[in-house]
């Protein structure tokens, strides 16, 4: 174990993994195909689980292994499986037209990262290897939020929400040395429930408005 710890420190593994997560978010925000968004999410979640494991080794917090396991089970397997089913039912394959084009979205994502890096001093994490994690996590949150704004199809909004949640998870780690297991499990469970409810919700929107285009929802305004 000490050896692995040392490696993590030398190679900056934690930063590497979190940067990977950031990249997967950027990939999602610039991709039009829903299938590739989903893939980006799976990658993002695997990286999150890996990061947890690294934290577990690095800080010797054994209960993070359990959290990592549940992350894999929930975010890498169950949620993607369920979303694929919903997407299949809804027959939505790609985002037709985001409000902003891919290059503009990329620029904005970049600007957000710069903004965050210039304003967050570096979190309260002690170990030198992970000082960037908080900045990255906040960037992930903002980029996912931006993506949600940028998309019209409700399905992509759900994807944005899922990414955002991963970002929040990451932020939680960098601030608290890992939250108690019970809370992590609780959040994970909430997430699952949320995705299921959103799935049902999407199907209902589809039924009521014949489309999952959110512009149609303006007709609900009083």
């Amino acid at each position: 174990m000490p050896l692995i710890k040392r490696w993590i420190e030398i190679f900056g593994a934690i930063d590497f993994i979190s940067v990977g997560m950031l990249l997967s978010v950027v990939a999602m925000s610039s991709s039009k195909r829903i299938e590739s968004c989903l893939k980006a999410y799976v990658i993002n979640s695997w990286l999150l689980a890996l990061l947890m494991a690294a934290f577990a080794v690095y800080l010797s917090i054994p209960h993070l292994y359990i959290a990592a396991f549940f992350t894999i089970a929930g975010k890498c397997v169950l949620i993607p499986y369920f979303l694929r089913k919903v997407i299949g039912e809804l027959k939505v394959t790609r985002e037709v037209e985001p409000y902003l084009s891919t290059p503009v979205s990329l620029i904005i994502s970049f600007a957000l990262v710069v903004l965050v890096y210039s304003f967050i001093a570096g979190g309260i994490f002690v170990a030198g290897a992970a000082r960037n994690v908080l900045k990255i996590s906040v960037s992930i949150i903002l980029i996912s939020l931006f993506t949600m704004m940028n998309r019209k199809k409700a399905v992509t909004q759900v994807m944005g929400l899922l990414f955002m949640e991963n970002g929040l998870f990451l932020a939680g780690f960098s601030l608290t040395y890992g939250m108690p297991t019970i809370i992590e499990l609780g959040v994970l469970f909430d997430m699952m429930m949320g995705v299921m409810i959103l799935g049902v919700f999407l199907t209902q929107i589809k039924k009521s408005f014949v489309s999952v285009d959110l512009d149609k929802l303006t007709s609900l305004k009083g």
Binding site: V138, L142, L145, F146, M148, N150, I182, L214
Partner: protein
């Protein structure tokens, strides 16, 4: 598992009499659960029995805590390392907890019988339990956060209960008014707490009090104004009361009993907590004008409340307006107490405060009793319109007797409990003549004048309510076929009526409990008043002996009956028609109606009421043959017309402008969120 894994649970140990409270909580929760899962509707009344058991237990534990003066109970819900909700009860909290428990006990027993008439028994039963629990949580909250959460829960749950009659449009409208007003009130409360927090850095009330002790008077006054408006809205002080006569009658009667009996006392509790606990406290510096504001508001509320109560033909609305009046009386005492504290006259302040607290408890008891009585009347006569009642005393003897006892008590007539508290209030206000500046002397004495006027008006209002509903001849078929309410309902009312008499005859019980409260000057009140003996106040300024009034009357009765038995032979009693000038055709339509009863007052106070009347004559052949005449008369609700309507019109216009922010497009909303986030980020950095 490390300690942090228990964050969601009770963090610090429970001590004091808290364990009894937890058991009572368990009763409530099990009651609420059974309401949702009970297999048969027929068994639902057992759930109310669970509530009643819980309420009885908590009444015992609160009384024990007050009486024994033991350690206060406390527990903390740790939500996250940084965020916790503290529940701890001191004597003030125990007092209000006791008040809640007593009313909840009676209302729960009553509900076991009453629930048969409600359209959605499961829903109402569940929310009824939650309502009681949330009020309890308000009373024992130890910090601003738990207070606000409980407060909002209380408001929301009661809103659902108000609108539970989904078919009825008036109750939906009432619910809307209620929800709007209560949220405006809550925003003022939040403002007060935020000011206090920003000045002291503490969310806990004890911390706030300690932190505010040395702060500037301007800051304290700002907190006072915000808190007084916010809590006053809930209490139903005069210009802010308009939701009260709409919402309370709309709820089912067992709930209106709790709303009028207990929930508006949460406003009083808030005012006392902020004025006397957080801003005041032993040795603190009070502003005289706070007391004057409270006192003046109390005087106006009491007179206006009862003037409008007089004009009501709807029994439950009459009772609701009378709640405005009684809140006014409580505030008269509270305001006088603040005035006295500001001059350092702690003994007098103790007297005024004891009067206010006594009346708070009294009102909880007799207003619950009267609302429960109105529920029985509606259950028996299927109407809450006084004009359709009459002669109910013969058909509903127990309900009538208990309603009468409640009416006598609320009119502050001896030997019932209302008299004790009004007597104490009178003394406190008269003793206001000993304050140094002339203006407070005049104002406290004018408060006394308002109280005297209120007393006479209340007597007229309740003579009308009881006399028209229960006496005379039935005015409708529904009233003719009225039936007495069932056993648990009459038992609950009887319990409260007995309490009215007990607290009226032996005020020492309650004064002893009140003397346990942590305010200066109350101790003298308590020690001077052992149970059953005369109440003597302010170093012998005056005193009275409530038990002796009753005893002397009973002795006198015994003497009269003995004399009649020994001296005279038995006289014959003939039962015959009432005197009808020989027409021999007396009908119930010839009786005085509720409207007619108060007609002289409508004429006398016409500048206030602005009575409107309209006579419509329809002809068969104009102008000779009249086919019918309709007469319509009502009073102008001038607050609604001249204050609220212009205000809501303005808000409506402003809202139309702001509406452009609402595009209905999800991305825009997400944009708002993102802008907020980035703004926070910038603010943080």
């Amino acid at each position: 598992m490390c300690e942090s894994d228990f964050y969601f649970f009770i963090h610090k140990e429970v001590f004091g009499t808290g364990i009894l409270l937890l058991i009572s909580l368990a009763f409530f929760i099990s009651g609420a659960v059974f309401f949702t899962v009970a297999p048969k509707k027929a068994s639902l009344h057992y759930c109310y029995v669970l509530y009643a058991a819980g309420a009885g237990l908590s009444a015992f534990s609160f009384a024990e805590a007050l009486y024994g003066g033991g350690a206060p109970m406390a527990f903390t819900l740790q939500i996250s390392p940084a965020l916790s909700m503290g529940f701890r009860s001191g004597p003030l909290q125990d007092f209000f907890g006791l008040l809640l428990s007593v009313a909840a006990f009676a209302a729960s027993v009553y509900s076991a019988g009453y629930m048969k008439n409600t359209p959605a028994p499961r829903f109402q039963g569940l929310f009824y339990g939650l309502f009681i629990l949330s009020m309890g949580a308000v009373f024992i909250s130890g910090d601003a956060l738990s207070f606000l959460i409980s407060w909002e829960a209380m408001s929301l749950v009661s809103y659902f209960l108000v609108v539970s009659d989904t078919e009825n449009e008036t109750s939906q409208n009432a619910g809307l008014t209620y929800a709007t007003m209560t949220h405006i009130g809550t925003s003022f409360i939040i403002g007060a707490f935020m000011l206090a927090f920003s000045a002291t850095g503490s969310l806990e009330f004890t911390g706030m009090a300690a932190g505010l002790a040395g702060k500037s008077m301007a800051l304290k006054s700002a907190i006072f104004i915000l808190a007084f408006i916010g809590f006053g809205m809930k209490a139903g002080i005069f210009p802010l009361h308009i939701w009260l006569p709409k919402a309370h009658p709309a709820a089912p009667s067992n709930v209106s009993a709790l709303m009028s009996g207990v929930m508006i006392k949460a406003g009083i509790y808030g005012i006392m907590l902020m004025c006397l606990g957080v801003l005041g406290g032993p040795g603190a510096h009070y502003s005289t004008w706070w007391g004057v504001v409270i006192l003046a508001t109390g005087a106006v509320s009491s007179v206006m409340g009862v003037l409008y109560a007089l004009m009501e033909q709807d029994l439950k609305r009459l009772l609701a307006y009378s709640s405005v009046e009684n809140i006014g009386i409580i505030l008269l005492g509270t305001g006088a107490a603040v005035v006295f504290y500001s001059f350092g006259q702690t003994a007098l302040a103790g007297l005024a405060l004891a009067a206010a607290l006594y009346h708070t408890m009294n009102h909880a008891i007799f207003k619950s009793l009267l609302f429960l009585g109105s529920g029985s009347v509606m259950h028996g006569a299927h109407s809450k319109n006084l004009e359709e009642m009459g002669g109910l005393l013969k058909r509903m003897p127990y309900t009538g007797l208990f309603f009468l006892m409640g009416s006598v008590a609320i009119c502050a007539l001896p030997p019932f409990n209302g008299f004790v508290s009004e007597w104490l209030t009178f003394q406190a206000l008269i003793l206001g003549s000993s304050t140094p500046p002339a203006y407070t002397r005049v104002i406290t004495l004018l408060g006394g004048a308002a109280l005297a006027l209120t007393g006479a008006l209340a007597a007229a209002a309740f003579v009308k309510a009881f006399g028209v509903a229960f006496l005379g001849l039935p005015r409708s078929g529904k009233a003719r076929q009225a039936k007495e309410a069932g056993f648990p309902m009459t038992a609950a009312m009887g319990f409260l009526a007995a309490l009215c008499l007990l607290l009226g005859v032996a005020p020492g019980f309650l004064l002893r409990l009140i003397s346990a409260l942590p305010f200066e000057g109350l101790k003298e009140m308590g020690t001077a008043a052992p149970i059953h003996s005369p109440v003597i106040i302010a170093g012998g300024f005056t005193g009275f002996w409530p038990a002796a009034i009753l005893v002397s009357m009973l002795l006198g009765l015994a003497i009269i009956l003995a004399l009649a038995g020994t001296l005279g032979r038995k006289r014959k009693i003939t039962y015959a028609d009432s005197w009808d000038c020989g027409i021999k055709a007396l009908t119930p339509r010839m009786q005085y109606t509720a409207t007619a009863f108060t007609k002289p007052l409508r004429v006398i106070f016409k500048t206030l009421y602005m009575p409107r009347k309209e006579v419509r004559i329809s002809f068969k052949l104009k102008p000779l043959f009249v086919s019918g005449i309709t007469y319509h008369s009502d009073i102008t609700p001038f607050l609604e017309n001249y204050l609220y309507r212009p205000f809501t019109a303005f808000v409506g216009k402003a809202a139309m402008k702001i509406r452009h922010l609402q595009s209905g497009k999800l991305p825009l909303y997400l944009g708002y969120i993102m802008l907020t986030l980035i703004g926070l980020l910038l603010a943080w950095a």
